[in-house]
Symmetry: C2
Subunit: 502 residues, 2 copies
């Protein structure tokens, strides 16, 4: 079968899983190299990777029961048809080709921002290296943004580091925090399910991954008792120093309550843990009654005993939110109470990559310094921003509702972020067949889904899940009409799957 | 003294050396944070780093004997006033803001390239993630470029990896090559003097740095007998697996002869070493009789015994050459004879950073796919390109001549790249004073130079040099008139320095 033939390829490149392109390229010339997007999940990554695969001829001409592969596997908004925010692109284009500063077809507010960014660049050019920490005036804009967001809690540009996407910052800070300890291996607490960048970085840095489980029965809430259980067990075999939180959650979509964040901060203070708050979905909150609270804001509101002592790093990115500018690799990190020596080491480490891409820094500037009321571009900016976010909110609700209508599927509310992570019932016969194929049961399920419907999602085993439970992660990024079709197809597939393996 | 006060700051942040900004910011408000560009050299990096430094008030108002700091420390062309190549920026601006594709003020050849790049992007947007290896059509353009450059030697897009600047590729391949070996530590042979990315990466990866010395008496030539000496000595304490070559040389500026490259390849073949060819200055060759030969081309011309066996990775970048687009963080790596398993690991590793910045990929495309005769933009492109390269050639000769007129300074011909690395005589009295300040003698020299003239260069000890010899690295990027002034100032300083410590 095609599945088996594909598994041979997976065997050669065991890090490649879920080849949408393997089906998508049907009909291409056999000799043409076929760029294949793939997802690696087997060792805990979920990655946007690629290889040229020379597809053996027997694969060609095999009729598939679908005409299009729908990639619902990666949080890549523009690839799913979302349009860039006009203002952001105008400013970056002006910075790229400053001749345009004389063009009447660009608005003045965009030109003003472009001029300011260029003044921060050596030789007024995006082509110069910037300071490793990022352009001065952009870090100032980030600090102002954080102050506005957090109702006036002060932010110091000195504590802001521009990064190459959020991943770069997360990897760097983990490297610094982990490398310092020679005595016993450093433990890093991460949620399960998690975004697999964490498990990958922890394993690469030879630290110990300490799992705490989110409470699926309770909308994926974070419970401090569970943190305490995980920490106490871990102390027997490592030195836990870091606590990672993803809020809003990826892949789980929960938005943490204020009370929960307070509890986590108190716990970190008590246990002297370094808090690592992945807040890249801070603009993606949909459910009524839910609100994004930054860890930093709550930390300040808890008083000096906390804000003078708890160490915190928070991350943001150009890739998510309403802008979805993944390709620019823009991001920032804010650090609080980082020891000056550690800070020195961090700058040193960041220096090795010279500087973050400068157009990504410019894109980050527009995210934190968008048009304001009274400016020429304000109305269009707000319209575009709200259109994206309102659509996402609609799709979040639609997805939750549709999944919960499928027998054997349960889906928590998508309070935020851009994914559904439904729990799926997999019959024991299917589990046996998966085992015969040496696949995780949810991997087997997702491969079948892909082969039969063309829908590409990521098995829950790539993110971690409680033993005996199965999930998959699906983005809600396809346009509403396409998403409806997709959800209908998943429903039909699931019902047939249950019947087949009953 | 100011020097001493500064050393206190250096003590707190021992990775910060050579603060141009510490002098540059005289006159600023005490309370304003001063962005300080700095060079770290003490542990072997030469880096473009930055910190906010709150300068203590006694520093303000101290008269310095210069009005401007000239940063000749970093290969950052645009920061030194070089203008971007118009065509490159036009294409990137068109990709950034595709509305411009309708504008009559952009040439058709630029629009054609922009459309092609956008077609390679998900949703036709620079904001989508690309494959981790880079956009398909850009890798094809890179392969065509290599074939043209190497007189028809075939290049396979499958072997091309787009990177975040060359540094990203070099770090990644070293990581892969080093991580594979559990028995004894991996040795990596690097030239001395070297670009400190290598020593930094080797130390970070816990491998062994195996030094081979370039022959200063012979225009910094690479001698295979010296390679053999270094290898044989290293075999006693590590497992040497990788041989790094920088051609044209950084910081030394030599361009390797065809014969020398053949010898190196034969040596690598004999000793089964992985060749890592840093060829980012391939467009920067100035001396008559010198020509850039790629390692890959020579490898193929040496016949199948070599080209079927020798493993090679070669690196290129948008940052140097005639375009100087450092801020875009664009680059590529071509690998030859990389084992499929290692290749798999490489893709996996690269996947963690998702994808290289997409505007940097676009910039790389223009470097390898510039306007050709008959195209609208050809004339202007060639004019701009040749203006930059002719100027660099002029400055290379000027710099060599001027340095060799200074007593106690010897400078090899700057055959290529963009740096002078003159050898300087430092009197023993100065060496003693440096020791009293716990500084390397050439560091002491460079700090004095900076303090007395405002010229910022990097001590040779940051790159490595034969014991008892002293050098500094200076870029030739300042405009000709400024470079002349700079060289005159260095001359006056050096003569006074010799007198003072005679």
């Amino acid at each position: 079968s095609l599945l088996e033939r594909q598994l041979i390829i997976l065997c050669c490149c065991p890090f490649l899983m879920g080849f949408p392109g393997l089906w998508g390229c049907l009909g291409q010339e056999e000799t043409s190299p076929n760029l294949v997007n793939c997802i690696k999940i087997c060792t805990g990554f979920v990655l946007n990777s690629s290889l040229y695969i020379k597809i053996p001829s027997p694969n060609f001409g095999i009729k598939k029961p679908f005409t299009e592969v729908i990639k619902a596997n990666i949080g890549d908004a523009h690839a799913m048809g979302q349009r860039p925010i006009t203002f952001l692109r105008q400013v970056v284009a002006l910075c790229t080709y400053p001749n345009l500063l004389d063009s009447p077809s660009f608005p003045e507010d965009a030109k003003k921002r472009a001029r300011r960014i260029l003044q921060g660049c050596g030789g007024n050019s995006l082509g110069s290296y910037t300071a490793s920490q990022g352009i001065n005036c952009i870090r100032e804009d980030v600090a102002s943004y954080i102050e506005r967001r957090d109702g006036g809690v002060p932010a110091d540009p000195d504590n802001i580091y521009l990064t190459t996407g959020a991943s770069d910052g997360i990897s760097a800070i983990l490297k610094i925090l982990i490398s310092g300890d020679g005595k016993s291996r450093t433990g890093v607490m991460i949620p399960i399910p998690q975004y697999p960048l964490y498990s990958a970085a922890i394993s690469e840095l030879d630290a110990i991954q300490v799992n705490y489980y989110l409470d699926e029965e309770n909308c994926w809430a974070l419970n401090v008792n569970e943190l305490r259980r995980a920490l106490n067990e871990a102390k027997a075999y490592c030195n836990p120093k870091v606590l990672c939180i993803i809020n809003p959650g990826n892949p789980t979509g929960q938005v943490q309550s204020r009370k929960c964040i307070e509890d986590v901060i108190h716990f970190a203070w008590e246990e002297k843990l370094f808090l690592l708050a992945d807040e890249v979905y801070q603009d993606n909150v949909y459910s009524e009654g839910c609100q994004f609270h930054s860890f930093k804001k709550i930390l300040y509101e808890m008083g000096p005993e906390y804000y003078n002592n708890v160490e915190l790093a928070s991350f943001h990115s150009t890739s998510k939110g309403y802008m979805g500018e993944c390709g620019y690799r823009g991001g920032y990190m804010e650090v609080i109470n980082l020891h000056p020596e550690i800070k020195g080491q961090l700058v040193k480490l960041l220096s090795v990559r010279l500087c973050p891409p400068v157009s990504g820094q410019a894109a980050m500037d527009i995210v934190v310094n968008p048009p304001v009321p009274g400016e020429e571009s304000y109305a269009q900016f707000i319209k575009e921003k709200e259109s994206v976010l309102n659509n996402l909110a609609k799709k979040a609700k639609l997805t939750e509702d549709m999944f919960n209508k499928i027998p054997g599927v349960h889906c928590n509310p998508l309070q935020g972020a851009m994914y559904a992570f439904p729990r799926i019932f997999i019959p024991s016969k299917a589990i046996e067949e998966a085992k015969a194929h040496k696949m995780a049961p949810d991997m087997f399920y997702c491969m079948k889904l892909l082969e039969e419907t063309g829908i590409c999602v990521v098995p829950g085993s790539g993110f971690g899940q409680r033993e005996g439970t199965y999930h998959f992660r699906m983005t809600i990024l396809p346009p509403v009409e396409k998403l409806k079709i997709l959800l209908e197809k998943v429903k039909d597939f699931h019902i047939k799957f249950l019947e087949k393996y009953a």
